[in-house]
């Protein structure tokens, strides 16, 4: 089946099997290997991408379902040497070790900050609870997301308790 998906702002076309998962379309067909695959059961979140701006686990979505829609992957959140605030936050606060969960975490967190620019710690924990990380113990991931939230609106004066 022929599909056309707008991936990271570029129209991409391919013939795909109807059963092809979006994660494999992105990784194998398009070669965007920043989106990872870590489980068989939609539990790990390593495959998180945005479908029309909403975070989805791309192992749970058929590629044909994305036909005519917008998909953003980790490769699309910044360009060249630039980094998004979340990418910077992860680097500043040591939010990653092996890096395997990191793209999925960043995609989930990006959607969170778009909805909730100043999330509480509990909101962050809840938001990333579908993204497993085996390396970090999560504390520095939370701090990374808080770093990005804090730098989100540099003009706004922060009143710290």
């Amino acid at each position: 089946m022929r599909i056309q998906v707008n991936v990271n702002g570029e129209p991409r076309e391919a013939d795909v099997e109807p059963r092809l998962l979006l994660v494999h379309f992105v990784r194998d067909t398009l070669g965007l290997t920043g989106t990872h695959w870590g489980c068989d059961t939609s539990n790990c979140g390593a495959c998180t991408v945005h479908l029309d701006g909403e975070p989805v686990k791309s192992c749970t979505v058929l590629a044909v379902r994305a036909n005519g829609h917008d998909v953003t992957t980790i490769e699309g959140v910044s360009s060249g040497a630039d980094l998004s605030l979340l990418q910077q936050g992860f680097r500043e606060e040591h939010g990653l070790q092996c890096g395997f969960c990191t793209p999925g975490m960043i995609m989930t967190a990006t959607a969170l900050l778009e909805r909730t620019p100043r999330p509480s710690e509990d909101e962050i924990r809840e938001a990333i609870s579908g993204n497993l990380c085996r390396c970090t113990g999560y504390q520095y991931i939370i701090k990374s997301i808080e770093w990005a939230a804090k730098h989100n609106a540099p003009t706004r004066v922060e009143v710290m308790p």
């Binding site: 489980c39 910044s78 890096g99 395997f100 710690e121 085996r134 999560y138 504390q139 991931i141």
Partner: protein, 787 residues
Amino acid sequence: MAVETRQGHTFGDRMPRKEDGRFIRGRGKYVDDLQLPGMLHSAILRSPFAHARINGIDVSAALEHPKVRAVITGKDLEEQGLAWMPTIAGDTQAVLATDKVRFQGQEVAFVVADDRYSAQDALELIEVDYEPLPVIVETPRALDPEAPVIRDDKAEQTNNVIFEWDHGDKEATERAFREADVTVKQEMIYPRVHPAPMETCGAVADYDVGTGKMTLWVTSQAPHAHRTLAAIVTGLAEQQIRVISPDIGGGFGNKVPIYPGYVCVAVASLVLGRPVKWMESRAENLMSTSFARDYHMVGEIAATKDGNILGVRVDVLSDHGAFNAHAQPGDIWPMGFFAIFPSCYDAPAAYAEATGVYSNKAPGGIAYRCSFRVTEAIYLMERTMDVLADELGMDPVELRRKNLIPAEKQPYESVMGWTYDGGDYHAALDEALRIADYPALLEEQREAREQGRIMGIGVSTFTEIVGAGPKKKCHIAGLEMFDSAELRMHPTGKAVLKIGVQSQGQGHETTFAQIVAGELGIPAEDVEVHHGDTDHTPYGLGTYGSRSTPVGGAAAAVVSRKVREKAKKIAAHLLEAAEGDLEWENGGFQVKGSPNQRKEMAEIAFAAYTNTPPDEEAGLEGVAYYDPPEMTYPFGAYVCVVEIDKGTGQVEVKRFIAVDDCGVRINPMIVEGQIHGGLAQGIGTALMEVIQFDEEGNHLNSNFMDYLIPTSMEVPKVWETGETVTPSTHHPLGARGVAESPTVGSPAAVVNAVVDALSPYGVRHVDMPLTPSKVWGVLRENGVEPF
């Protein structure tokens, strides 16, 4: 926003990691990211039975699938002598089953096809005629005289016993038990768990028919050792094999062994002359690649009535699954470093005996974030210490304080034959109690109990034993356990360091650069670290058992010092001074007493290529193979506070305090990250994780819905970490390994806290994992009302 560039980090700094730039952009390169022209994909047919004879395999329908390129069975491999491969414990393991299958999930056939989906489809087309056999799942049953012999492929094997082992002074220990005022004995199981790194295992093999060279990209924690083993297994010349371990998505011991999939891709690529990829699914990862633990233990302590330990005794039944693929640092250590069990306590006598057995479960066990069974040993000791405290009616902290090895006795010679490296255990315990505010916690617990809440405080103090290892004590498959570093300075003062250890997320590209920076006075930013490619790095044994810093890090320090020696000669030439008149100061050589007559490393490096002394070779480089004189002994003191929901049995970890002493810290930020991650894994083991089987040997936890690992919701909000720093006397930088201390020390702290919480109801021990249903059962059995 532009990337911030930083300059001038060195040893000891919280330097942001060099590797992060690619990972946060999704530009890491993991094995499954590899796409080669003409690459084929594969899938493995696995046994649905835990124990069955194979009467026949029919692959004809699979071969007719239009996208299938090859189907390989055990018979095909047998013809090439490749049906079996050696394990690192000196046993054999079936690559593809020929005679029998011995665990559910065992590899039976290997399908190569044009794409992943077709390879999976073709598995359905293979017919295997199985004749089911009786199954051994419960470890003690392996010893029944009438139990089926699992390894009947081995002529000498008439039962299921792999080894019997003992260590220590049996007689002295028995005497201690006879003469003691008090003795305690506790049975406990350290359950079978899985490292479950987020990236599963996999490999790509690319055999070039033109050059005869085999390139293997493997999820490997030990690429050099894998190359040597690959040469032995396949018969290819070792220089014709290149093993590349690219970015690895977590290892934790899971990526130390060689797996049948690796051998199969290599064979398939040799046969087909095309690159072939194999990547396991999560179910395959949890079912077939190495498990850890599965230790059935009895711990005993003999003590005086005021709590002085007189002797410690241990009896272990160790389950290795269908093939003994145990990670062990040499054949004299079938129990790994379990003999560390008297740990940080001044025990005058100790004795351990153990039996290892086969069962119809996946082969192993590997050292999951563990230095060869130290995790099981410390859990046993710390649990038994609390049982003793309960018996004596003594505060567990007091009991520990009384028995910790005093700092004055360091370097301490343990009765089990280890020479410790200078730890001050009392200082670590004091610091943990200070952070926890122990008296206030006890008061809080008193109040909680008055209100009918179930709160517990658990303590564990321990020493690890890491950094395998000295050649006088350790080897893996005959290879001495040194590690290596090769350092070259370029004319512009920049450097490349090539190492034999292998990062799986530990951040070697950063910390090893910091080591060189500290030794040579150049910024860590100017040192590029290469690892994971056997064609381009010196031979090393890889990363597991917390050996990177103790062994590889020492090699990096030693090679830097060798380079500095040559730099001194060049500096003397440049300064027209005698070498003896020079001193090393702030990253450069200067004439003693006249600091303005001085040469920086960058100038010296330039001269090494442009203005060499008459009697010196050009260039500035060196290589070091480091044999550690002894192991290193990181230690710590942990305090865990839990509260239990009476109605649901849910254990909540309210606080976790971890004071670790890993000696001098190369990058404190990375050390903290490692400790956080290990603590989360330890809490997972204590509360959530277990691999279980039904009586037919069906694996019950083959996905992340049934094998639960901690999410952001199950870990405490803050890891309250602290440190003491007593430099290791066994390491040139005073450093010890650290990443495993938290998984070693934390499970006991959690279980001790839960048992402490339940102790008013007469509970003395509960086996891990302390899931809500298990704790709920314990509460109900002991008459605790749910509300």
